[in-house]
């Protein structure tokens, strides 16, 4: 059976991002349904939800995510049967809960599939959905895949035929593949929609084509594996854009079938490019390399300036300046590609908040502001967990029950607001509730009981936050499930810090609590090896590393001003970083050599200890007091202490100068040690 292999490989990554989109769309409709139900308004049309579910089912089947497929299928059936019963059946709270649970389950299935984890157990959920379905409309169970979302009546452009194509090796050998069929169908009429579908033993493709009334499909096509029927449930729209229903195919990126009935307010997909983040990261890395090359050119220019190179130098300097400008522009435009609106994340928080609200039995209204604020996708993705925690905390600990609120003279419904604003190169996200506020006295009491060092005054601001963020600190003895056992405020703060952000809190007893997260709107992230040099943790960018050797100190040979060690067929010169930096040197019997430099002239950077590989966020070290050669930047590892990121090419130059200086000093008889002062090390 064909239809697998290369097709799958090309498809799998798109599958995940497309699932995200359809899940988000499904959630939007569910919330609209819920609020319509609450306010007794007419519910929004269901065809977008059905379409999303249908697509999720098809996509999941394609990649063999049986769990997600099963749930999507059950959901779709349940929704269709409920829809036939009437609008009231759909907005019934119990039914909505089942739908929410179903969408949540699909998300978990997809996440498990993506992570390669075993799929979650969805049997009970599917069974309960099936009960709702069977009760209403048994036949719908098995005919669901024959349905397609029914658009509202539109001007007719002919008769809609549904074509089914089952690819096979034999057909492929004759050159009849999905693309050939699509081209043929396009010639016949207007391609309305196309969907892959799993059938016994493989994949089938369904196409819906509006065929002009005076045209008939060619009967010989049956030989090419095509079957068709007239689908009178669909009335074709006259002005459907050709190509709207592209299939995923090996030679091009899959564009999701676009609903002609896309609701207003949804961003026009035509202006949206879906880009694999990995590719963008590659571009960012390339830009980083270019920056380094330019810096090297800068050095050359300066060096050339000391000789008499004249006019040539001017030209090189000019080129250098132009290159710097271009690089800056390139970096800016790449950064812009990575920006997404924070509203997408808010919607996911809404989903999580809903669960917490139901579980707590409280009445909470969510208010969003600033959804259009743009932020780097990398930043916002990493902020999701901490934000989830703040939202759950606000619901389970912050906002009081309706009774307590009324007793306190507040409206029974609590308000949880999520606001995003941009200021300069920072983004501020505020999670604010109008609940009881933090009981600073109780917190102080608990802190003292736990032996945390706090002053006598009332706890507020940063000090309050310090206590709340102390590892394992919780203001409730029994952390209930929604507050996220094990993920405390300490984890929230560590995550924020790791993104070069800050967390602050303001709380007023009886009035509520506001957590404010400030983040840079973009970040540069790289993989680095953390090492220890003279008691200091430092990070070495992983791409710079050729090899890591563990050597006995006794095997290092020192002669004149060089340390060397046997390496492969020759010797490896060593730069003793602790000595170069003027840090204390380790007395350990073994050390590690990070082999860097070129293939032809490798150099070993001697470090005391390896700590591990980490993904780190690069923060610039820009002030003239500390912007030293050899330091590429710094990173906060989440513990509040800064680790320096080493710039290996600059280090090698530095070591070379050092060696030369020492050799020169020895020749002139001066004390070589003048270059080894104590470097302002504190105390």
């Amino acid at each position: 059976m064909s239809g697998g292999g290369a097709f799958f490989d090309q498809f799998i990554e798109d599958y995940f991002s497309e699932c995200d989109e359809h899940l988000a769309a499904a959630r939007r409709v569910l919330f609209a349904l819920e609020s319509a139900s609450a306010d007794a308004l007419p519910p929004p049309p269901l065809h977008d939800l059905l379409r999303s579910l249908h697509t999720l089912k098809g996509l999941s089947g394609m990649v063999g995510d049986a769990c997600a497929e099963q749930v999507a299928h059950a959901l779709e059936d349940a929704l269709r049967s409920a829809e036939r019963v009437g609008v009231g059946a759909v907005t019934e709270p119990e039914f909505l809960d089942a739908l929410f649970a179903g969408v949540d389950a699909i998300e978990r299935c997809v996440a498990a599939h993506r992570a390669g984890d075993p799929p979650p157990d969805v049997d009970a959920l599917v069974a309960s959905l099936a009960r709702r379905t069977v009760k209403l409309d048994a036949p719908a169970l098995h005919s669901a895949s024959d349905d397609v979302t029914v658009p509202a009546s539109r001007p007719s452009a002919g008769i809609v035929h549904r074509f089914e194509f089952v690819p096979s090796m034999a057909l492929a050998a004759r050159g009849v593949g999905v693309d050939a069929v699509r081209a043929r169908l396009r010639a016949l009429g207007t391609l309305l929609d196309a969907k892959p579908r799993v059938v016994a033993g493989g994949v089938a493709f369904d196409f819906w084509v509006a065929v002009p009334t005076d045209v008939q499909p060619d009967a010989s096509w049956t030989d090419d594996g095509l079957r068709w029927t007239i689908d009178d449930t669909i009335v074709a729209e006259a002005d459907v854009v050709d190509g709207a229903g592209e299939l995923p195919s090996p030679e091009r990126t899959h564009t999701p079938p676009e609903s002609p009935a896309a609701p207003a307010g949804v961003a026009p997909s035509a202006s949206v490019v879906r880009v694999d983040l990995g590719r963008l990261d590659d571009v960012m890395r390339l830009v980083g390399d270019l920056v380094v090359s330019r810096a090297r050119l800068d050095d050359v220019v300066r060096e050339a300036g000391t000789t008499n190179a004249g006019k040539l130098l001017d030209i090189v300097a000019e080129t250098n300046a132009a290159m710097e400008r271009q690089l800056r522009q390139l970096r800016e435009s790449v950064t812009r590609i990575r920006l997404v609106q924070v509203g997408e994340t808010f919607e996911r928080l809404r989903f999580a908040a809903r669960d917490a609200i139901r579980e707590s039995g409280k009445r909470v209204r969510l208010v969003f502001a600033g959804q259009q604020t743009e932020i780097d996708k990398v930043v916002v993705d990493r902020m999701l967990e901490p934000l989830l925690h703040l939202v759950r905390n606000a619901v389970s600990h912050g906002i009081e029950s309706a009774d307590e609120r009324v007793a306190a003279g507040k409206p029974p419904e609590g308000v949880l607001s999520l606001r995003a604003t941009a200021s300069g190169d920072r983004i501020r996200i505020v999670v604010e509730d109008d609940g009881a506020g933090v009981d600073a006295d109780a917190v102080a009491h608990r802190a003292r009981a736990r032996g945390l060092a706090i002053g006598d005054g009332p706890l507020a601001g940063d000090q309050l936050l310090d206590v709340l963020c102390a590892p394992g600190f919780s203001t409730r003895d029994a952390a209930d499930r929604t507050s996220g056992r094990g993920v405390g405020m300490d984890v929230v703060r560590a995550a924020v810090r790791a993104l070069s952000g800050t967390l602050s809190v303001e709380s007023e007893r009886g009035r509520g609590t506001a957590f404010t997260i400030e983040l840079p709107f973009t970040l540069m992230i790289l993989d680095a090896l953390l090492v220890e040099v003279g008691g200091q943790q430092m990070a070495v960018p992983q791409p710079a590393l050729r090899e890591i050797l563990r050597v006995d100190v006794s095997s290092i040979v020192s002669f004149e001003h060089n340390d060397i060690v046997r390496y492969r067929d020759g010797v490896l010169p060593i730069v003793h970083l602790a000595r170069l930096f003027g840090f204390g040197t380790s007395a350990a019997a073994a050390c590690y050599l990070l082999v860097v430099g070129s293939e032809a002239a490798p150099i070993g950077l001697r470090v005391d200890r390896l700590v591990g590989l980490r993904e780190i966020v690069v923060q610039p070290v820009a002030d003239q007091l500390v912007a030293m050669p050899g330091v590429a930047g710094a990173t906060d590892l989440g513990n509040g202490r800064v680790s320096l990121i080493l710039d290996t090419p600059a280090l090698l130059r530095l070591a070379e100068e050092e060696r030369d200086a020492r050799a020169a000093a020895r020749l002139t008889g001066a004390a070589a040690d003048t270059r080894h002062p104590s470097h302002g090390t504190p105390r």
């Binding site: 920072r426 810090r497 993104l499 070069s500 952000g501 800050t502 400030e518 983040l519 840079p520 200091q536 170069l580 930096f581 003027g582 840090f583 923060q619 610039p620 070290v621 820009a622 002030d623 003239q624 007091l625 500390v626 030293m628 050669p629 050899g630 330091v631 930047g633 710094a634 906060d636 509040g640 202490r641 800064v642 680790s643 320096l644 530095l654 003048t674 002062p677 104590s678 470097h679 302002g680 090390t681 504190p682 105390r683």
Partner: protein, 165 residues
């Protein structure tokens, strides 16, 4: 804590080696606990290292070392005074910082002849505040790294000269 109508400027007072210094509060962003700065190789000797402040990595300057006094271990009173000037943000480590004071411009007198040396360069004047003398710090000059003695020997001899004054 901004400039009042009477043109008196607000200053943050801090202690260093037994003397009281004053920094214009418009240059002060905040006061922090000192924490542990990360040493930066080859940075000037008066720089203790870098610290992370609201996602920004800034230098932490030992004002004792900058003014030529011997370093002392940090204690609970030690503060990192975050100074903003000319687009730069720098932390200054001082022995303690707790007070504010309003000082009218005319109350600031030039330094008497004979006070010079390393710390004298960074002072804009001297003012009486009640019983005390306030040494008014010149932030711009303080953060300036130009015209610094480039090699360690000169810097250290300058520091020891200041000590003896």
């Amino acid at each position: 804590m901004t400039t009042t109508a009477s043109e008196a400027e607000t200053y943050v007072l801090f202690e260093l080696a037994g003397a009281t210094y004053a920094l214009p509060s418009r240059h002060i962003q905040q006061l922090e606990m000192v924490g542990t700065p990360t040493p930066v190789p080859n940075a000037p000797p008066f720089v203790d290292g870098v610290v992370s402040l609201r996602g920004q990595v800034i230098p932490a300057v030992s004002l004792r070392a900058r003014f030529g006094f011997p370093r002392v271990p940090h204690d609970i009173r030690s503060r990192l005074v975050i100074v903003r000037a000319q687009g730069r943000t720098v932390g200054l480590i001082v022995d303690s910082a707790r007070e504010f004071a309003n000082v009218a411009p005319e109350a600031i007198k030039p330094l008497p002849e004979g006070i010079g040396g390393t710390s004298g360069r960074y002072l804009r004047g001297i003012a009486h505040h009640g019983e005390r003398l306030l040494l008014i710090v010149d932030v711009i000059e303080l953060l300036d790294t130009e015209e610094q003695p480039k090699d360690e020997v000169a810097a250290q001899s300058a520091a020891s000269m200041a000590d003896t004054q």
